[in-house]
């Protein structure tokens, strides 16, 4: 295969995705389009060069799956941060803080605390016992074919949920940042990611993740420096400005509704730094927290990173670096979010994107001099390109994890019974990557316009309820065996998905109709009253205002009618329910204990003498590293 030719074609295909007929959104003015092209092209060129170099180094399947075990602890720490900090954390959390203050910041804490679980109980044993996949760890003590099959299915399930959320989120993001069509955005993300994974395997994926993490941290540091500089780098002084900001005070007044009447502007501003503007159900919060804190330690694409370092010590170093980078980044988001709220304003942020995702890019544009300036648009382009690189790097990690489960666990482990040559395995891994990539692009395009935000939480819930219990108990409980592993994976996965299907996350037509009917009922008399006012008013300015208000009310009414019409005669959700069975959006609180219970119960019922005999070997190896599977081939 002529690699350089393929790279040229991939690059061209990507640039064609940015075809000139694409309608640019309001964020970047057409005369600054060249800046966006330039920055995107530069970042893509760097990652493509890295992939080209990496492709030459991928000679064995160990190189493809685990970068030959030749990644250092520090490099791996940056790569974990690059694998983990998705666009949801970069754009999403900064956005939540800019719109809801304290609650947005509180939400970010769980994403860091998750790594304590990884550091203390998972990373080092995984490095000592595993080779390329989670299936390898489970196969050590259990029936290899059975557990590899079930674990691979679970890996693919978790990664697919996460992948869909990333692809749809990425498509929407690229569309609103640089204005190309949604389908082109998804295809561009998909093709670029496939180029990294298929040619460069884990070597290229690692370096793309490192580059992305460095760019992300650098961009955030620069923005926070400029924001904080304006306010003299003080702590209390900075927050005094936050609570004194009229835009923030107006935002809080809108959020708290009637209660605002009895509050001074200063109190309204202070309220921005207090809990419960966004998160109103603490039980749901705790449920989500459990899924994050335990689920990260069951995420295949994260655990896979520990097979790329040579020793348990370097696995430890990598988690500590990852915690420093990820934690530092989340502390920066507090300033990005509050800075965007003060400088750009919550209303302008919502106008660009209802979920607040444009807070960081708009802040960059403002800091550089605003929408009309070259520097402002250059900074916006840079942040947009970083967000794009973020999505591609996360997606590459997810595709590699799914493809490894398919090729290493199912094809080589189960179908070929571990009898495949290294060349066959590498080819299988590349074909599987292409399959997963094609699937990701297809689902990404089909899922356009769907609300996929809860899929990330679902991925963490499945990882915490299925993957985490079986990996943890395989490593720490002597009695754990094949029966328990299979039951835990199946029950954990099904209960997490099942609970979401009967949760308030789904659409309940009757409830939607009642809510929309209220809007229609309220708008009909309002329009009538406005029309009466219209006929009695003569002043031009007031007339204009009334006309505008009538148009807005009619638009809202039309929207509500459309929403009802779209539902047609449906009265139940996709699983046939008129209303949710449980009041939890996050299933972890119930499904995680269920997953653990299933492993305990079925391990005790099934009993496997062999699994108990091998326990001594597993436990000694996991604690000492004796006989560690050497992924190192150089």
């Amino acid at each position: 295969m002529n690699r350089s030719k393929i790279f040229t074609i991939t690059g061209l295909a990507f640039l064609l995705g940015l075809a000139p007929d694409a309608a640019f959104a309001q964020v970047v003015a057409p005369q600054f389009r060249y800046l966006t092209f330039g920055v995107f092209a530069a970042i893509i060129a760097i990652t493509m060069y890295v992939t080209y170099v990496a492709a030459k180094r991928v000679k064995t399947s160990a190189d493809f799956y685990a970068a030959g075990g030749g990644v250092t602890g520090i490099q791996n720490g940056w790569a974990i941060a690059g694998d983990y900090l998705s666009a949801a954390s970069f754009l999403g959390i900064a956005g939540l803080i800019s719109l809801f203050g304290y609650d947005g910041f509180m939400y970010s804490v769980g994403w860091l605390v998750a790594y304590i679980t990884v550091l203390l109980v998972i990373a080092e044993p995984c490095r000592n016992i595993g080779k390329y996949t989670l299936g390898d760890i489970l196969a050590f003590r259990n029936n290899p074919k059975t557990v590899k099959t079930v674990m691979a299915l679970s890996t693919i399930t978790v990664s697919t949920f996460y992948l869909i959320a990333q692809m749809v989120g990425g498509g929407v993001l690229v569309k609103s940042l640089i204005g190309i069509d949604y389908e082109y955005s998804v295809i561009a993300v998909g093709i670029l990611m496939l180029a990294y994974v298929v040619f460069g395997g884990m070597v290229a994926t690692t370096w793309v993740q490192i580059i992305k993490a460095v760019l992300l941290v650098a961009a955030s540091l620069v923005m926070v420096f400029v924001v904080w500089f304006q306010y003299g780098f003080g702590g209390p002084e900075y927050f005094a400005k936050v609570i004194g900001d009229p835009k923030i005070q107006a935002r809080v007044a809108m959020l708290v509704g009637d209660a605002a009447k009895n509050m001074t502007p200063q109190q309204l501003g202070q309220r921005f730094l207090e809990p419960a503007l966004l998160l109103k159900n603490p039980i749901d919060q705790i449920s989500l927290g459990m899924a994050l804190v335990l689920g990260t330690a069951g995420m295949p694409h994260i655990l896979m990173r520990f097979f790329t370092v040579p020793t348990a010590q370097s696995a430890r170093t990598s988690v500590i670096w990852a915690m420093a980078i990820i934690g530092g980044f989340y502390v920066l988001t507090l300033f990005l979010g509050t800075g965007a709220a003060m400088l750009v304003g919550p209303n302008n942020i919502i106008a660009a994107d209802r979920g607040g995702n444009m807070a960081a890019p708009l802040l960059a544009q403002f800091l550089g001099g605003g929408p009309g300036s070259i520097l402002g648009n250059l900074m916006l382009s840079f942040v947009a390109a970083v967000a794009f690189a973020t999505i591609v790097a996360v997606v590459a990690g997810l595709v590699l994890a799914s493809a490894s489960a398919m090729s290493h666990d199912i094809w080589v482990g189960v179908i070929k019974g571990e009898h495949a040559t290294d060349e066959e395995e590498r080819r299988a891994a590349r074909i599987c990557s292409l399959l997963v990539g094609a699937l990701a692009i297809t689902i990404g395009i089909l899922a356009q316009g769907q609300n996929v935000a809860h899929l990330v939480a679902l991925a963490f819930a499945v990882a915490a309820s299925a993957n985490f219990p079986v990996v943890l108990l395989t490593l720490y409980w002597k009695r754990c065996n094949t029966g328990g592993v299979v039951a835990g994976l199946v029950l954990g996965t099904l209960s997490a998905i099942g609970l979401v299907l009967v949760s308030p996350n789904m659409t309940y037509p009757l409830q939607v109709k009642v809510a929309q009917q209220k809007i229609i009922d309220a708008s009909t008399p309002k329009i009538a009253k406005l029309n009466v006012d219209l006929s009695t008013t003569t002043e031009p300015a007031a007339l204009e205002k009334l006309k505008k208000e009538i148009a807005a009310t009619e638009k809202a009414k039309k929207g509500a009618e459309d929403a009802i019409a779209k539902l047609g005669s449906d009265t139940t959700s996709i699983v046939g329910l008129e209303q949710p069975l449980i009041n939890l959006r996050n299933p972890g609180l119930i499904s995680i204990p269920l997953g653990f219970f299933a492993v305990f119960l079925f391990s005790l019922l099934y009993r496997d003498r062999r699994a108990e005999e091998i326990w001594d070997e597993l436990y000694v190896r996991s604690n000492t590293g004796i006989g560690r599977a050497a992924a190192v081939t150089h």
Partner: protein
């Protein structure tokens, strides 16, 4: 998968390994329990101890904001404490690894 070159059960029952196992188990799980309790104190506190969370301590900076920031410091602190302690475990494991072939053969 099993390698036959070591006598795993004899290494496992070696007093040095048992000492490592005990020390590690107590240390890791108590640190883990502490970190989980400290983390969940944040959402629980924000929901049920709102009065405390809104107490202003340093200008506009209130208890809740400082507590959320302390979550980061505590997480980093745990990582630091673990890294220090883990080098002790490494040294204990090293002795066993060097002696592995002699144990029980």
């Amino acid at each position: 998968m099993a390698t036959q070159s070591f006598s795993w059960s004899k290494i496992e029952s070696d007093p040095r390994f048992q000492a490592l196992h005990r020390k590690k188990t107590v240390f890791l799980w108590s640190l883990m329990a502490f970190s989980v309790i400290y983390y969940f104190a944040l959402p629980v506190g924000a929901a049920y101890f709102t009065e405390l969370f809104t107490v202003k301590l340093w200008g506009a900076i209130n208890f809740g904001l400082l507590f959320a920031l302390s979550e980061f410091l505590v997480a980093w602190g745990i990582a630091y404490v673990y890294a220090k302690k883990a080098s002790e475990f490494d040294a204990m494991a090293d002795v066993i690894v060097k002696d592995a072939r002699n144990i029980g053969t």
